[in-house]
Symmetry: C2
Subunit: 309 residues, 2 copies
């Protein structure tokens, strides 16, 4: 039997067809990518992806979308998807395709993908963070996804970790994702570059305001001490937030995905060092492993395929 | 059928005998209080409470203790209980009494009590905060307690909300409970009193360092503007932390218990005002009710009785 999973990102849509037959792990047997349209074109593109991946079939469809998704699959709020509000993705796609459809938050889907066939296998209490422009979060508790009363759980990026801190597009100040994501790295890099504290990176970028996170990572890999220091700082912010998360939900593993995970070797050492000392009773409780996620940018689509009921 | 529940507090132990027969709600049919001994005397006192509440019976026993309790009922870390470390409460009391025994964190027990017979009835995704010297936390997710991989979930008081903030006995700085508990109120009151910003309360207390939280609450009830302002501030810190919690776990109700709940009318208005605007997409999601818990200081003992398997 096949299932379809579709992950709607800010710039591209990834669809997969997953074979769930047999005794082995589910296998991705086909995939495709297409650009993300504006909010008014989302249902058309989703229906097209379904047709192309399973032209004559009736495979059920799971969809992950960025933003607040309620338990009926309505996208209530999506700042990273053209500001869509109240888009009934699940009902509209079900009507359009005649197939079973389930829609959930993209990071929630990714957490389920990692739990079932990725780095989270065997872990019943798991936390996934995707570190990209922001922070996406997904939580597994006692082997089940933590969805919350309205479906909105896991918005870890907007936990405030610095009350007078950097402005966030969400309207608050000091959100975790302004410090411990790829976007947070870039924000802090430009701030340091303007102060003259990141000259090696500015030399690559040409201008302080043109500094991008990839250039910081690249400079650090080539031994630039200022860049290494900044990535350490991002790691410390990551670790501080993780310690609070561990105090709240007590996972047995923390998985890190998203674009910044590719710089994991430069960020995770300082994150782990902070985490290992900052939880309540740290010396008397087990160390919580912080590991890289395994499914890369397919985690959301695979998880969506495995979630559909 | 009867069950026993015992709540071990920092200064007193409360035991209850609960009748769970019949179709109605469980009923407390007897209770007793006794002082909390040092860590080495805990098991003796628990056994004595069991004997006195159920001298010739074999009722199962649930126990709530403050601190980190693992899934085997070992009290791993208890800063508010004489610094007990590694105390095998469940195994020792089971051996001593020959009865079924379950041991869990005190606030986790209180959350279950409120969920089953208190203000949380009918709520499958619930958060309880007990605001006393610190903040105790208990979380119900999909109708089940969130215990965490090791049993340590719900330590909400040590979520860091102000990274350069007040020292906490736990070793960190800026823990939520240093701002939004009875103890936090007292800390901030003494700080303001020393600065000369709380003269009406100091006049009652005699000395800035002698200011107690009850005096601040009493002064506020008599119209002291500085005291009202301080309780508003405590409420705002409470609301900021609650907004982060809602972003993480998305409960359908938040219950407030503990000593500071008696000043709920002076604290919760500002807490709700902050919460209602500070969650992600606040204007597009339901308001989360913040209500007073119903069972008072019996919540932990009742919940422990209802938890025992």
């Amino acid at each position: 039997m096949h299932r379809l999973g579709i992950d709607v990102g800010g710039t591209k849509v990834l669809g997969v067809r997953v074979d769930v037959d047999g005794d082995g792990a589910p296998t991705v047997v086909d995939h495709l990518r297409t650009p993300t349209p504006g909010p008014e074109g989302i249902i058309d593109v989703l229906a097209e992806v379904v047709d192309r991946l399973d032209p004559s079939g009736s495979a059920p469809v799971g969809v992950g979308v960025p933003g607040l998704v309620d338990r009926d699959g309505v996208l209530c709020f999506a700042p990273n998807l053209g500001g869509a509000v109240g888009l009934e993705v699940e009902a509209l796609l079900r009507a359009r395709t005649g197939r079973p459809v389930d829609v959930d938050n993209d990071a929630t889907c990714a957490a389920w993908g990692e739990r079932q066939v990725g780095a989270g296998r065997g872990h019943d209490d798991m936390m996934l963070l995707t570190l990209g422009t922001g922070i996406g979060g997904g939580l597994v508790v006692d082997g089940r996804l933590l969805r919350g009363a309205h479906g909105f759980a896991g918005e870890l990026g907007h936990v405030v970790i610095e009350p007078d801190g950097a402005d966030c597009p969400c309207g608050q100040r000091g959100c975790w994702e302004r410090y411990a994501s790829g976007g947070g790295l870039e924000r802090m890099a430009i701030e340091r570059a303007r102060r003259g504290d990141l000259d090696g990176v500015v030399a690559r970028a040409g201008d302080p305001d043109a500094v991008r996170s990839e250039q910081v990572v690249d400079a650090a890999r080539h031994g630039d001490a200022d860049a290494v220091d900044l990535l350490d700082e991002v790691g410390r912010w990551l670790g501080r937030g993780l310690a609070s998360m561990v105090n709240i939900v007590d996972p047995d593993v923390i998985l890190i995905g998203g674009g910044l995970a590719s710089a994991g070797d430069l960020v995770l050492a300082s994150a782990r060092a902070v985490l290992d000392t900052a939880t309540l009773g740290a010396a008397l409780r087990p160390t919580i492993p912080v590991e890289l996620a395994a499914l890369g940018d397919r985690a959301g689509a695979i998880g969506a395929a495995l979630l559909v009921r």
